[in-house]
């Protein structure tokens, strides 16, 4: 049953419901066909292929945060697929078949690469490095296998286009326009929201249940296909494919167009590609050096002073920057009770965690009863956070077992734990800074799943259980659903993240110092929220906490950790009165 309650001044529609700037951009391109002579139309038609290349990079870099130095490889692969098919397949269908192959082949390569890159715990620079290597490799290969690819000279496409220049230009604009709107749709969908969440904080996204490696791979595949289309268009216009289409130089130029044009704006990078290439073509050779120099300086200035790029500056100046997405919050009854069926909400059996020779946890066995609020206390370095990390699969344990409501958790993937109904809050509030509060909540409520339709649609309503809405109200968040989370004060961020954790309606929550840095009044309120959660929703809670007064107020039971071992366990009175615990906290009592 759903109770509809208007809680916020929610605009009915969200961002870019009418992507005005994008439409205007396409309209200008169409108008050019009437205004400009064939020479320039021909040029711009080719540059639209490069603009697609820029779009393809923006999709993964601007939205999903994956910096690729190898976009030209997909682009060039598209071109070569077309060229080679036309040469080796003696059929009138060859251009069509080649174009198809030119889309499918880069997409397939992106898929394989995505599986290889995104599914491992690799360093910050791995995607950049592997795509860089890819660019260099591709160029070397093309030059090496010159029998097939024509080597340095490339391939002349044998099939002449059956269009006039103007027709071909309009065809290019149509293809570009369709792709642009596809991108706009994709990034404004629920899926696009997940991509941006990954960009902002991939770990948080995984802890909300999203399998980020698959999401990134999917984005990469789409990006590869778009780059392939760009390569086909460019090859058709130039009538040629050569190693410069596939190598590092074009790849790095694309990075510059996107960075200067404006990451995460789609139109910006496309404009960057169009205008840069147009200038390069118009300027004489002697001026070209200075143009390149200016471009280098522009890149530096943008990185330092305007990281969102020139188009974002322009949007800001004209007040047209797409308003942050908004929607309704609706109250509904909680799925009652969201709790456990197997006796214990959570159990660890003999869990150990070693970092090299350092034993962060030794043989820790704890048991959390349904609807119990268990406090983990202990001095710094006792292993509290490590225990929560192990339970939530943030860290692999060295030995032992973790059982979550009857499910034997044996995974290095936090999203699986999240989907089993165990949600986690981080010590330093982890929210998605550049997304709105509404988006943050929608992501949490999404439950880690993206259905096919969510690739093209965006949910405008989030149904939240009453107790979560009450919590958000407490933090004053309902009045600012359209604000980016970065605008929030420290306390409100903590409340938002707690709200996101509870919005998943987990049977068990792991809270790492949820009241750190909050005022006394706020702490008391959070304490009440947690008490009600166990009582009314039957949620089980593990709480790491330093403030013993707070613990006294809320805990059902306390476990004391010291040097990675459980040293005491019992009711609040038992533990706080224990000599041992005093010793641990205060040193030996004299």
């Amino acid at each position: 049953m759903t109770t509809n309650t208007a809680l916020s001044r929610a605009p009915r529609l969200l961002l870019s419901s009418t992507p005005r700037n994008e439409l205007m951009f396409i309209a200008i391109l169409v108008a050019l066909a009437m205004l400009v002579n064939d020479y320039y139309l021909d040029l711009v038609a080719g540059f639209l292929g490069l603009a697609l290349l820029a779009l393809s990079l923006d999709l993964i870099w601007g939205y999903a945060g994956i910096l690729s130095f190898g976009q030209a490889t997909f682009f060039g692969l598209g071109g070569y697929a077309l060229g080679l098919t036309e040469i080796h397949w003696d059929s009138s269908l060859a251009p069509v078949g080649g174009a198809l192959l030119g889309v499918v082949a880069p997409a397939a390569m992106a898929f394989v690469l995505g599986l290889f890159v995104f599914f491992s715990r690799v360093g910050l620079f791995f995607a950049a490095v592997i795509t860089l290597a890819l660019s260099v490799l591709a160029e070397q290969m093309v030059n090496e296998f010159s029998g097939l690819t024509g080597g340095f000279n490339g391939i002349i496409l044998p099939t002449a286009l059956p269009f006039s220049v103007r027709e071909y230009y309009l065809l290019s604009v149509a293809i570009f326009g369709v792709t642009l709107f596809l991108c706009v749709t994709l990034v404004s969908s629920d899926f696009g929201r997940v991509l941006m969440a990954i960009r902002e904080n991939e770990e948080r996204t995984r802890f909300l249940g999203y399998t980020s490696p698959w999401m990134k791979t999917l984005a990469f595949v789409v990006s590869g296909a778009i780059a392939g289309v760009g390569g086909i268009l460019y090859a058709m216009q130039t009538g040629l494919v050569s190693p410069s289409y596939i190598g590092l130089t074009l790849s790095t130029q694309t990075v510059v167009w996107v960075a200067v044009g404006g990451r995460g704006t789609l139109v910006g990078p496309a404009l960057g590609a169009l205008l840069t290439n147009l200038f390069q073509h118009i300027l004489s050779a002697s001026l070209l050096i200075y143009w390149q120099l200016a471009l280098g300086i522009a890149l530096i200035l943008v990185v330092v002073f305007a990281p969102d790029g020139l188009y974002a500056l322009f949007l800001g100046a004209t007040g047209r920057f797409a308003p942050a997405s908004l929607g309704h919050i609706r109250v509904r009854h909680a799925r009652r009770p969201s709790t456990t069926r197997h006796g214990a909400a959570l159990e660890t059996r003999g869990v150990s965690k070693w970092f090299g020779s350092y034993r962060a946890l030794s043989d820790v066995s704890i048991r959390l009863a349904p609807a119990e609020l268990l406090c983990l206390v202990g001095p710094n370095g006792a292993g509290k956070s490590t225990l929560v990390d192990v339970i939530s699969a943030r860290t692999r344990r060295t030995a032992g077992e973790v059982v979550l409501d009857g499910w034997h958790a044996n995974t290095g993937r936090p999203e699986r734990v999240a989907r089993q109904g165990v949600a986690r809050k981080f010590q330093a509030a982890a929210v998605f800074d550049r997304l709105t509060i509404f988006d943050n909540l929608a992501l949490a409520r999404g439950g880690g799943r993206i259905k096919f339709l969510q690739l093209i649609r965006r949910g405008t309503t989030v149904d939240l259980p009453a107790h979560v809405v009450a919590l958000l109200k407490l933090g004053g968040l309902l009045q600012q659903l359209g604000e980016p989370a970065s605008e929030l004060a420290h306390g409100a961020r903590q409340v938002l993240e707690l709200g996101m954790v509870l919005a998943q309606e987990p049977h068990t929550v792991l809270l790492d110092e949820p009241t750190a840095g909050l005022a006394e009044d706020e702490r008391r309120q959070i304490g009440e929220v947690l008490r009600r959660l166990t009582r009314d929703q039957g949620t089980s809670i593990v709480l790491i906490e330093h403030d013993i007064d707070f613990v006294r107020r809320v805990a059902d039971r306390i476990i004391v950790l010291d040097h990675g071992r459980v040293v005491a366990e019992g009711s609040v009175e038992e533990v706080t009165n224990s000599e041992l615990v005093r010793e641990i906290y205060l040193g030996t009592v004299v």
Partner: protein, 280 residues
């Protein structure tokens, strides 16, 4: 025997071009994509010195000094704005690389230039004739690396550097001036690129676009080696250099490049922290 010398030479060449980048990356977490251009500037320094003075050897001083001066300005104007933004430094230093290349093109023209080999001819080593200049490069590279290792292990400067690598904030609270350390690091690392460029000038074509292949290789060596470890850097150079030179000899130079890239990518996929991981 000649294969062993060639493999060793290839490995030391990688080490030489990577070490400056490794120091900057290890200490500051900054990826300097203009490293190849600093190397190129060092080579032009050697070109000018050799032309003006009629002798090559002072280049080994003037080359690094020229680059150190440029790096000092770059650090002051650009780098210090980006210290907490590692991914942004990639972009900014790439912009810097473009700027340096274009300025050089405007001043010196795009053509290939030659720095004559100061000690031509070859000499018998271990039973084979080997180019004398290559032997000089090998000796100097080993001297540079050993010198840096000793500096890091025994001097106060090395201690400060290790402290900053371990924990910049903590080092800062101990009264270490982090900004000065970063400044000195950036200048030193860049000067080493200049030295590499000067030293290699007689063995490569010198031209404004010569940088990018160097930085790609250096970057891979640094990542494969593992951040902050000289031992890792040396082992990565050996591994990649030997594979590259062996494949180049028995297959083709392209196979050498491909082998190096594939090996580097595979290593990083399965050992994300590189060959030698600094203790956490």
């Amino acid at each position: 025997m000649i294969e062993v010398l060639n493999a060793g030479y290839a490995a030391l060449l990688l080490l030489l071009i990577a070490i400056g980048l490794a120091i900057i990356f290890g200490l500051m977490g900054v990826v300097n994509l203009a490293h190849g251009e600093f190397l190129m500037l060092g080579a032009y320094g050697a070109l000018i010195t050799t032309t003006k003075l009629g002798t090559f050897w002072p280049s080994l001083i003037t080359g690094p000094l020229l680059v150190a001066a440029v790096a000092l300005v770059v650090e002051f104007v650009l780098m210090r704005r980006l210290y907490q933004r590692p991914l942004e430094t990639i972009l900014a230093t790439w912009g810097l690389a473009i700027v340096i290349r274009q300025v050089l093109k405007a001043i010196a023209g795009p053509d290939f230039r030659d720095v004559p080999n100061p000690i031509p001819g070859s000499v018998a080593v271990l039973g084979v004739e080997y180019p004398r200049y290559r032997l000089a490069v090998i000796a100097l590279t080993i001297a540079i690396v050993v010198g840096l290792y000793v500096l890091q292990r025994t001097s106060h400067v090395g201690l400060v550097a290790r402290a900053v690598i371990q924990n910049p904030q903590l080092a800062g609270t101990l009264g270490i001036n982090i900004k000065r350390v970063y400044q000195a690091t950036f200048v030193l690392g860049s000067a080493l690129a200049g030295l590499a460029g000067a030293l290699l000038a007689p063995t490569f074509n010198v031209f404004p676009e010569m940088g990018p292949p160097f930085v790609v290789n250096a970057f891979l060596v640094v990542l494969v080696g593992g951040v902050g470890s000289i031992a890792g850097l040396v082992s990565a150079s050996l591994l990649l250099g030997i594979v590259q030179s062996t494949l180049s000899r028995y297959e083709t130079p392209v196979a050498g490049t491909v082998g190096l890239l594939v090996l580097a990518v595979l290593t990083l996929r399965f050992l994300p922290h590189g060959l030698i991981r600094r203790a956490p």
